[in-house]
């Protein structure tokens, strides 16, 4: 069953905030987009789960790249889960770096599967699984 236009756009908006806050190193703002038991799999050998760990993700990216790492999402498609309060979303996520030492470089491309849950204040991410195609 296709999701409503309103829900589709809410997820697109959520992913916009996800990328902006991640790239800005906004740990608390980024963690606010997740449920308390939010879970990431597929980025490294270990999964990441829970608010305290999730909030460190943007902070560590900022420490590593100083704001020069860029996440973009596209090709979003959405389906309801068992109820209309859960959406399973698929999207592409490309990551590039824009360091002063050279031109912009593709860093990673990942096909992502995401589950989001409806909350009183909007949608929250429960889980994202990344299937990355690393560059050089």
């Amino acid at each position: 069953m296709p999701v409503s236009t309103e829900d589709y756009l809410a997820i697109a908006d959520l992913l916009g905030r996800y990328c902006w806050r991640l790239d800005a190193g906004d740990g608390d703002g980024w963690a606010d987009l997740w449920t308390d038991d939010g879970f990431i799999a597929g980025v490294g050998p270990d999964s990441v789960s829970g608010r305290a760990t999730l909030r460190e993700v943007p902070i560590s990216i900022m420490q590593r790249c100083g704001g020069a790492e860029v996440h973009r999402t596209a090709n979003l498609c959405c389906d309801y889960g068992e109820t209309r309060d859960t959406i399973n979303a698929s999207f592409y996520n490309d990551v590039s770096t824009w360091l002063p030492s050279g031109p912009g470089k593709p860093l990673l491309f990942a096909r992502c599967e995401m589950t989001v849950s409806r909350a009183a204040t909007g949608w929250r991410i429960t889980r994202i699984t990344f299937d990355p195609l690393p560059g050089e």
Binding site: L9, D13, S96, P103
Partner: protein, 136 residues
């Protein structure tokens, strides 16, 4: 307060036209997307203010790259301003060039914060403040 579905789609459509018109050298069409006193900030040391001055943007893109520059807007999220007649839109603008049969090259990643004002049934850009990552 989240923006309405209609307003979110209208802003996404407006930004798509912004990309199409600048890439195809449609000078008049591009400046008509702006308010009369629209301000483009962050592309150089000085603001570009007003429709007459803004004409220089698509003209210089065409002069430098012909129709071989491509702007991709993404990661859009929107919030109303003080009233529902103003929207602050955050989006990324990924710019590539495709010159002389050579492979496409990343040119600029612009994190853009645009203020749009409602104009009858549509929207106009009052301010677009870009933070440009250019790599080298």
């Amino acid at each position: 307060m989240p923006v309405s579905t209609d307003d979110y789609v209208a802003v996404a459509d407006h930004l798509a036209r912004y990309c199409w018109k600048v890439d195809t050298g449609d000078v008049e069409g591009w400046v008509e997307l702006w308010a009369e006193d629209g301000v483009f900030r962050g592309t150089g040391p000085d603001d570009i203010v007003g429709r007459e001055a803004l004409r220089v943007v698509p003209i210089s893109v065409k002069k430098r790259c012909g129709d071989k520059m491509a702007h991709f807007a993404g990661n859009l999220y929107c919030d109303y301003g003080e009233t529902i007649d103003t929207i602050t839109a955050h989006f990324y603008n990924y710019v590539t060039t495709w010159m002389n049969g050579a492979p496409g090259k990343p040119s600029v990643l612009a994190r853009s914060v645009a203020t749009l004002v409602r104009n009858g049934g549509g929207w106009l850009i009052k301010m677009n403040h870009v933070d440009m990552l250019t790599g080298a």
